[in-house]
């Protein structure tokens, strides 16, 4: 079984290797190879899962040590895997959703001449993401962490001929790198504190270490949070996610909705022991989560680009998860549960959006959709189910997971609990609003279609079955996953051995919270219907209020980045280039010039007349004779 973990990672890695180096020969079968290997990986995952279910709840962790990666003195980095329930959850999500999206992409990318490479990149992503979740130490996790960043970079920039895509890819990678500083510093801190960075060394000792090394542990917590912010697009490192929608839609579904962006949640949950020992860091985590869930939701309300609206939603939903993870043992399980259900419905929503775009000549502006439900029935139904799931319609999966998080937030207790719970409720309302808006603008109302840049009239049509089948499966998941997990607290029991779980004592009862959630849901949907359902949607965006305009520009965060970081950086580098040339080089060149000037003077002595030279020779000889005589005399 242990070797199977390695194969789990190796299968898509092999796919990536073959597809990326195979050349044009594989163009015709490349997508099949990619999909098959993703499926193979999923099968391995299922086999492992079945094996795991057959064991005792406390003995389910599988480990496998492959080889020593970097052995230098006390620094022993291993390539070793650890598969426990938490990893298993991710493995299934990644390989499952991943396989579906591979299948979807066969149809979606059918007309792209670089489809083989696309599948290579997707496989590379799967491998890196699997490595991330099955690594048994932070160093190897870091490798997977950067690996998914690379895959994300390659896939966002897949249509490299578009400058906007290339810029977005670069931005994603660099913002992620800022977060990576956090992870690397965290690893260094672990090394200097614990002498190791393996999960089984660091985590059990964290609690005890916090008595003597409290500041360090808190530092580690903050650094891990920075890393999570980068990868999971949390404030203040969220700016890349919206731009990342430049990538092909399956990429947005897989990487920027279902899996990679949730890696931050995984990291925090995995490092739960550290956060438990560092309450200050936990406070920071919940703050970031709460801010982001509102931030993302507000941004989502203002975007007219369907994918960017969904991206705002992703940000907001991950905010929920981060907030839950920051709550400690009362929230870890629900963070992961929401993560899984979100993986289903958000992937489904993105695939639906992709299907819509596919039918609408790649138009992304929702103001130019409208009335599509008749033309794309399957897409409409699956998208609709995803919509109901995300807003938390009772009985669907989003209802169970989100409700639990809000409950847990209240259960945090004290003022903090109220604030977080309130933020969660507000977020739920806004979620209901913007998702209803998306739904209404896309599928209802009258047609607002316009010809594309080349003058082709859109002819909306249902997508091929390779695209609809994954959507249907995901919709299935969005509907039933939540209920399945919540029945008998199945998910809680499943994860409890890894993350630990405590109920907490909520000041408000579960029923009250559910009622409140329902109430805000109705309010959100109602407002949206009033604004976009009853009235026709203008096909050009109105100017909007100050908040709307700010939200359209990602609440001015990009402008801030642009002014402070980009412009400032440009000025800094430009002035440094100038300084390097004039000051550092100038000092040296100046020395050279003054020596040159001096030698120019001295050169005059060298007048080319042999007789002058002879005089100096004779003079020199005279001096030597004089010196000899003097030495003798002395």
């Amino acid at each position: 079984m242990e070797t199977l973990i390695g194969l789990l990672v190796a299968a898509p890695l092999l796919g990536a290797g073959v597809l990326l180096t195979g050349g044009k020969r594989l163009d015709r079968v490349g997508h099949w190879i990619g999909t098959l290997l993703a499926l193979l990986s999923f099968v391995f995952g299922v086999v492992l899962f079945a094996d795991m279910l057959g064991k005792d709840a406390d003995a389910r962790t599988l480990t496998s040590h492959l080889f020593t990666w970097v052995p230098v003195g006390g620094f022993q980095a291993d390539v070793g895997f650890q598969l426990d329930q938490l990893s298993m959850t991710f493995v299934l999500l990644i390989t499952g959703v991943g396989t579906l999206i591979h299948i979807y992409s066969i149809g979606y990318m059918a007309h792209d001449e670089r489809r083989r490479r696309f599948f290579g990149y997707l496989n590379l992503f799967l491998a890196a993401m699997l490595l991330l979740v099955v690594a048994d130490n932070y160093f190897l996790l870091y490798a997977g962490w950067e690996g998914v960043g690379l895959a994300s970079y390659l896939l966002i920039g897949f249509w490299q001929h578009k400058p906007s895509a290339a810029t977005a890819a670069k931005k994603a990678f660099i913002v992620n790198r800022v977060g990576d500083i956090g992870l690397s510093v965290a690893i260094m801190l672990m090394f200097t504190t614990f002498g190791s960075f393996a999960f089984n060394q660091v985590l059990p000792q964290a609690q005890q270490a916090s008595t003597t090394q409290h500041a360090t542990i808190t530092g580690i917590g903050f650094m891990l949070l920075l890393a999570a912010c980068g990868k999971s697009a949390q404030v203040p490192l969220q700016s890349w996610l919206g731009d990342a929608m430049e990538g092909p839609t399956p990429v947005s579904a897989l990487i920027h909705a279902a899996t990679m962006v949730t890696a931050g949640v995984y990291l925090i949950t995995r490092s739960g022991a550290i956060f438990n020992a560092a309450p200050d860091a936990q406070t920071a985590v919940v703050t970031v989560g709460a801010v982001t869930l509102l931030f993302g939701a507000i941004v989502g309300c203002a975007k007219d680009d369907i994918k960017k609206a969904l991206a705002g939603s992703t940000m907001s939903q991950i905010g929920y998860m981060i907030m839950a993870a920051g709550l400690g043992p009362i929230g870890y399980v629900f963070a992961i549960m929401h993560l899984v259900t979100h993986g289903f419905f958000k992937a489904g929503l993105f695939l639906g959006a992709g299907s819509v775009m596919h039918g609408m000549n790649d138009e992304v502006d929702m103001r130019r959709y409208g009335g599509l439900r008749k033309y794309m029935p399957i897409t409409f139904v699956t998208f609709g189910l995803g919509y109901l799931a995300i807003i938390g319609f009772p009985g669907l999966s989003g209802f169970f997971s989100k409700d639990k998080i809000i409950e847990a937030a209240f259960a945090k207790g004290g003022t903090e609990g109220w604030i977080l719970g309130g933020a969660g409720l507000l977020g739920a309302a806004i979620t209901a609003f913007y998702m209803t808006r998306v739904m209404l603008m896309t599928f209802f109302g009258e047609k607002r279609w316009v010809p594309d840049a080349e003058g082709h009239e859109p002819h909306p049509h249902e997508s091929p079955s390779s695209m609809t089948i994954p959507m249907i499966i995901l919709a299935f998941g969005s509907v039933f996953a939540g209920a399945f997990f919540s029945l008998n607290s199945r998910f809680v029991h499943w994860l409890e051995p890894v993350t630990g779980h405590s109920e907490g004592d909520s000041p408000v009862s579960a029923g009250t919270v559910t009622a409140a959630t329902m109430a805000v849901l109705v309010v959100g949907v109602g407002i949206a219907w009033l604004m976009y359902g009853r009235r026709p949607v203008p096909s050009l965006a109105p100017r909007g209020s100050l908040l709307t305009r700010a939200a359209r520009r990602d609440l001015l965060q990009d402008d801030f980045n642009h002014v402070v970081l980009v412009r400032g950086g440009e000025h800094l580098t430009r002035s440094l280039v100038y300084l390097d040339h004039s000051l550092v080089d100038g000092v040296v060149n100046g020395t050279a010039a003054s020596v040159g000037g001096l030698s120019g003077r001295l050169r005059r002595l060298q007048n080319g007349y042999v007789r002058s030279y002879a005089v100096s020779m004779l003079g020199g000889t005279a001096v030597l004779v004089a010196a000899t005589l003097l030495m003798r005399a002395v």
């Binding site: 990326l20 080889f67 990666w69 970097v70 052995p71 230098v72 003195g73 006390g74 620094f75 390539v79 160093f139 870091y142 490798a143 997977g144 962490w145 950067e146 690996g147 690379l150 970079y153 920039g157 490299q160 001929h161 578009k162 400058p163 290339a166 890819a169 670069k170 990678f173 660099i174 790198r177 800022v178 990576d180 500083i181 690397s184 510093v185 690893i187 260094m188 801190l189 090394f191 200097t192 504190t193 614990f194 002498g195 000792q205 270490a209 003597t212 090394q213 360090t216 950086g569 440009e570 800094l572 580098t573 430009r574 440094l576 280039v577 390097d580 550092v584 080089d585 040296v588 050279a592």
Partner: protein, 531 residues
Amino acid sequence: MSFPLLTVTAAVPAVGAVVTAAVPAAQRTAAKYTALLFSLATLVLAAVVLVRFDPGGNRYQLTESHAWIKDFGLRYELGVDGIAAVMVALTALLIPFVMLAGWHDADPLEDVNPNRRWRPTQGFFALILLVEAMVVLSFEATDVFLFYIFFEAMLIPVYFLIGGFGDRAHAAGEEEAARQRSYAAVKFLLYNLAGGLIMLAAVIGLYTVTAHQLGTGTFSLQEILSARASGKLHIETSTERWLFLGFFFAFAVKAPLWPLHTWLPNAMGESTAPVAVLITAVVDKVGTFAMLRFCLQLFPEASKWATPVILVLAVISIIYGALLAVGQRDIKRLIAYASVSHFGFIILGIFAMTSQGQSGATLYMVNHGISTAALLLVAGFLITRRGSRLIADFGGVQKVAPVLAGTFLIGGLATLSLPGLAPFVSEFLVLVGTFSRYPVLGIIATLGIVLAALYVLVLYQRTMTGPVKAGIEGMSDLKARELLVVTPLIALLLFLGVYPKPVTDIVNPSVNHTLSDVHKTDPKPALEAKK
């Protein structure tokens, strides 16, 4: 007497240089193959050195020692420790690729009378082999003066390589190109000569100190070390500091360390890509290597005394080099400044005085050699195709030459230390090694990884992505010869990224020796220290 393996390893390229230079003018291709053959033979010998080296054995192995000039205590002493063995292997490894990449760089431009006795091609390849011989000898020499001789002598062939075989892709025309080329070559020479002269003074100073205290002066590293260990030799603190500074200055110029770095962008910008690789990946490594071997071993106390300043300079190099790389408009100058940043990491690792730092620094030397070679050689192919090295002249290359773009990206990703590629391991080791003793410097240095991502990706974005620019449309993809250059380098980057253990196993014992020279041990983890 056993077989003088080290001498032969250095002698083969030296003989090769003579043979190549002697090939008749018209037989250019024969000259190329001759040179390649000799470089491959050197590679085989270097591999033998690596295999014969026993990590568990003596500190210096395969030693050779002969009196040279008795009256001055000069000895012909060779020997390798793990670090030197690895560096020799790196040198021998890169030279064949440099030659293959520069296969046509020294071909005479068309309409040259074949009967003329002008033989630039022979000269180019002979000079490369000569550089190889000198570099190998300076890695192998355990006599300070012997080292000094080769350290300085290698300037001469490099000078001619920069000044005589410049980049043909120059925007400002033939005459301006020649002017800048000679400026770059002279700057290179003057900087390094200045460093070398100061070092010479320190070398002589060391001799007088040993002559004074031991009766007979010596330059032999091992004699000095054993004399110091037995207490016969005691260098006064102030003397030691001055001697250290003399040595360090020369190495810092060569390395190059901020603010002595400005020769590198000129030299790399004006020379052809293979020569630039030779400079940054091979020749400059002698500087950092010598810091490890000579500065730390000969002057342990002074090294510790100077450590704070050097570390700060190294961190400045890292950040400064990276920031300047972001601001460059010329591909090769960008890579040059990136190298300045990377050399900052190497020096940081050396002077952090932890086993992670120094092993990381040694590994970094190897990895930087390979990754820079990969990136720069592909950049060279790119530049040759377009006839320009300005970033602004490129765009959309990925569309017309995907393999070229892909290899360029991999080289770039290696440069920005992506996990899975070799430089990541070394960079992280250096950072961990630094952090465990100097947390603040470690964190500042970590910022370098963001800047690295910035300059690499900006470069990639501007040259490879976006719409296809004018002048790019007909660009051909990599040819078989070029693939032969790039593929093994990339394979090596991947291999060492995933499994660097073979190298670290050779390097670690030597690093521990060096650390014990400076009486330093790794800091204990905080938890254990508490107990």
